[in-house]
C-alpha cells in the first residue's frame, strides 16, 4: 500500500468523525464505557438509545478509518443503551433500569470476546458495582444469550489459538510479580499519554471538528513505519503471543501503540481502550519474557506465556477490573495453567496503578466531568446532590439594624438556635448564636445600644449553592455546626437559605438504604 494512502485515510476519516461528532453527538464527542458507568451510578441507569446508535456508527467508522482504538467499549455502550432504552420504554424503576443496563454491557463483552463468564463479571464489577443475585441472574442470561449468537456466527473458538503452557518452577513467580510491577507503570504511562494528548488537543486554537483531522494525520505518519497500530490490533497481539516478533520490534510497537492510541482518543476519534491495552500488554509481556528467557532459560515458561500475562496485567490496570480481566484472558486463551500467574500479575499491576495513579481510565474520564466514584456509588450519589436541592429558606434571618430584644426573641423561637444576618443588598453579613451573645444575652442595659451588626459573628462557615452534600457534611464536621448558610455562586454572596445536618443525614440514609435494597434484591414498590 502506498505511503500517502496510509496517511490520507485516517486524515480524511478524521474530518468525517469530527463533523459527525459535532452534529450528531450531544456534547460533540463520541461516547463510551465511562458514559455507561456514569449512567449507572448517577443517572438511574438512563442512557439515550438514539445517541447510542449514532455513537456506534461514529465508533465503527473511527476504527474503519484506522484509529488506534478498541471495538469493545463502543459495543458495551451500545448494549447498555439498548438495556436502558427497554427499561425506560417499559417504565421500570431505577434498580431494574440499572440491571438491564448491566445486561447490555455483559452481553457486549461476552459476544466481543467469546467470554460469557467474563462478560457477566465485567458488568457486575465495573458497571453495576455489586454481585447481588437479583441483578446477577439476568446479567448471566444476557451474557450467555449473546455468546450463543456470537458463536453461531463466528464459531466457538478462543480469540487466540496458542499452545498450552506449563509453569516451569515456583522460582518463576518473582518474575510474574516483576511483570505485574512493570505492567502497572506501563498502564499509567498509557493513561498519562491519553491525558496529555487530550490536554494538548484542547489547547490547540482550532475548531473541535478539525482536531480528529490533526490526530488522523499523526496516526497516518506513525502507521507508515508501524502499520501494526492501525485499528483494533488483534493480529499484532496474536503475533506477540505466538512469539513471532523480535525484541526490538516488540518495544517499538509498544511505544508506537501507546502514542497512536493516546492521539486517537485525545484528538476525538471514537472507540475504546480495551484492545489497545491488550496490544500494549502483549508487547510489554513479550519483551519482558524475551529478556527473562535469555537470562534464565531453565526457569522460563516461554515468551508467549509472558505476552498473555502482560495482556492481562496492563488491561486490568487500565480498566480497573482485575477479576473480569483475568477471566477474559483465561477465556480468550483457554490456558488454565497460566491462571495463577495471571492472577498474580493482574493484582500487582492493579495495586500499583491504584496506589500511584489513583484509579482506572474510566474513573479519570469521569473525574474530568466532575464525578468521583472512587468511594462507591453511594458517595458518588451524595456528590451529585447539590445543597440547593435541600435548601431551607424559611425564617431565621435578621437585618443589620435589628435590636437585641428582638434577636433574643427570635433565637428562643429558632429551631436551630442560629440567626443569619443579612445586609441591605441581601448578602450574608454574619451569624448570631446564643454562644455569640454570651456577654450581652442577659444584660438589658445594652439593649438599646447594640444591633445585629454589632453582635454578629463575621465570616461564618458557608456553602455555595453548587456545593454538594459531601462538601456540606465535611464543612459541618470541621466547623462543629449543625446549620450552615448557603450563598449564591458568584461575586456577591447573596444569602439563599440554610442547610441542616439532619436533612443531609436523612438524604444520606435514604441513599444507603436504596443502595442496600438494590444489592439484596428487595423490591422498591
Amino acid at each position: 500500500m502506498p505511503w500517502w494512502q496510509i496517511i490520507l485515510v485516517p486524515t480524511l476519516g478524521g474530518a468525517v468523525i469530527g463533523i459527525a461528532s459535532k452534529y450528531l453527538m450531544p456534547d460533540g464527542r463520541p461516547q463510551g464505557v465511562a458514559d455507561v458507568i456514569e449512567a449507572s451510578a448517577l443517572r438511574g441507569g438512563h442512557l439515550s438509545g438514539l445517541v447510542a446508535l449514532k455513537a456506534a456508527v461514529i465508533n465503527a467508522a473511527s476504527i474503519g478509518f484506522g484509529a488506534s482504538v478498541g471495538r469493545e467499549g463502543p459495543a458495551v455502550h451500545f448494549g447498555a443503551a439498548l438495556g436502558s432504552w427497554l427499561a425506560q420504554a417499559l417504565g421500570q424503576t431505577r434498580s431494574v433500569s440499572r440491571t438491564l443496563l448491566g445486561c447490555g454491557a455483559a452481553a457486549a463483552v461476552a459476544a466481543s470476546f467469546n467470554a460469557p463468564i467474563a462478560g457477566a463479571l465485567f458488568a457486575s464489577e465495573v458497571v453495576i458495582g455489586h454481585y447481588a443475585l437479583s441483578a446477577f441472574a439476568p446479567i448471566v442470561i444476557a451474557s450467555v444469550s449473546a455468546t450463543a449468537v456470537s458463536r453461531y456466527y463466528f464459531g466457538d473458538y478462543p480469540a487466540f489459538l496458542i499452545p498450552e503452557h506449563t509453569i516451569q518452577s515456583l522460582w518463576e513467580y518473582p518474575a510474574f510479580i516483576g511483570l505485574g510491577i512493570v505492567a502497572g507503570f506501563t498502564a499509567m504511562a498509557f493513561m498519562k499519554g491519553i491525558m496529555t494528548a487530550n490536554n494538548l488537543s484542547q489547547k490547540i486554537p482550532a475548531p473541535d471538528w478539525l482536531k480528529p483531522v490533526m490526530g488522523g494525520l499523526m496516526i497516518g505518519i506513525i502507521a507508515v513505519w508501524f502499520p501494526h497500530i492501525l485499528g483494533v490490533g488483534y493480529g499484532t497481539t496474536e503475533s506477540a503471543v505466538m512469539v513471532a516478533c523480535p525484541l526490538g520490534m516488540l518495544v517499538a510497537i509498544l511505544l508506537a501503540k501507546i502514542a497512536a492510541t493516546a492521539i486517537s482518543v485525545g484528538f476525538g476519534f471514537g472507540g475504546g481502550v480495551f484492545s489497545p491495552s491488550l496490544v500494549i500488554g502483549a508487547m510489554l509481556g513479550g519483551a519482558y519474557g524475551t529478556l527473562f528467557t535469555q537470562l534464565f532459560p531453565a526457569l522460563s515458561t516461554g515468551t508467549g506465556a509472558y505476552s498473555i500475562l502482560g495482556m492481562g496485567a496492563v488491561t486490568a490496570a487500565v480498566l480497573g477490573a482485575p477479576i473480569s480481566t483475568a477471566l477474559i484472558i483465561f477465556e480468550m486463551t483457554g490456558d488454565y495453567a497460566l491462571t495463577l500467574a495471571l492472577m498474580v500479575a493482574v493484582v500487582i499491576a492493579s495495586l500499583i496503578t491504584r496506589e500511584f495513579h489513583g484509579g482506572s481510565f474510566f474513573s479519570w474520564q469521569l473525574e474530568r466531568r466532575g464525578h468521583d466514584l472512587r468511594d462507591g456509588f453511594e458517595m458518588a450519589l451524595l456528590r451529585n446532590i447539590a445543597v440547593k436541592s435541600i435548601l431551607s429558606t424559611a425564617g431565621e434571618r435578621v437585618t443589620l439594624g435589628v435590636g437585641l430584644p428582638e434577636i433574643r426573641k427570635m433565637l428562643q423561637k429558632s429551631e436551630v438556635g442560629e440567626l443569619f444576618v443579612i445586609d441591605a443588598g441581601g448578602a450574608l453579613f454574619g451569624t448570631i448564636t446564643l454562644a455569640d451573645l454570651s456577654d450581652f444575652a442577659f444584660d438589658p442595659v445594652l439593649d438599646h445600644l447594640l444591633t445585629a451588626s454589632d453582635v454578629a459573628r463575621r465570616h461564618p462557615p458557608v456553602l455555595v449553592s453548587d456545593d454538594n452534600l459531601e462538601t456540606a457534611l465535611s464543612v459541618m464536621r470541621e466547623s462543629g455546626e449543625f446549620c450552615i448558610g448557603v450563598v449564591k455562586t458568584g461575586n456577591t454572596p447573596t444569602f439563599l437559605g440554610s442547610v441542616r445536618q439532619g436533612r443531609v443525614m436523612d438524604v444520606y440514609n435514604r441513599t444507603l438504604v436504596e443502595s442496600q435494597r438494590e444489592e439484596r434484591g428487595w423490591r422498591n414498590d
Binding site: 427497554l86 444476557a142 492501525l230
Partner: protein, 67 residues
C-alpha cells in the same frame, strides 16, 4: 437436619410459582435474553462493518493489516 418431603415440597406450590411470576424476576430474565440476542447481533454487525471498511481503505482487516 430437615429431610425432603413431597408434601412439604408441594405445600403452596402454586402460590410459590405465582410469586415467582409476580416478582418480576421472570420478566427481567426474558428481557435479559432479548438484550443478549440483540446485542450479540449488534456486535456481529459492528465487527463486519469495521472489517468491510478496513478492507476497502487498507486492503485488509485485523491481522492482515500489517502483513
Amino acid at each position: 437436619m430437615p429431610r425432603f418431603s413431597i408434601p412439604r415440597f408441594l405445600d403452596d406450590f402454586t402460590g410459590r410459582i405465582s410469586r415467582l411470576f409476580g416478582s418480576g424476576q421472570l420478566m427481567l430474565s426474558v428481557l435479559a435474553m432479548g438484550i443478549g440476542v440483540i446485542t450479540g447481533g449488534g456486535v456481529i454487525v459492528f465487527r463486519e462493518t469495521i472489517n468491510f471498511m478496513q478492507t476497502t481503505f487498507f486492503g485488509g482487516s485485523e491481522g492482515s493489516l500489517f502483513e
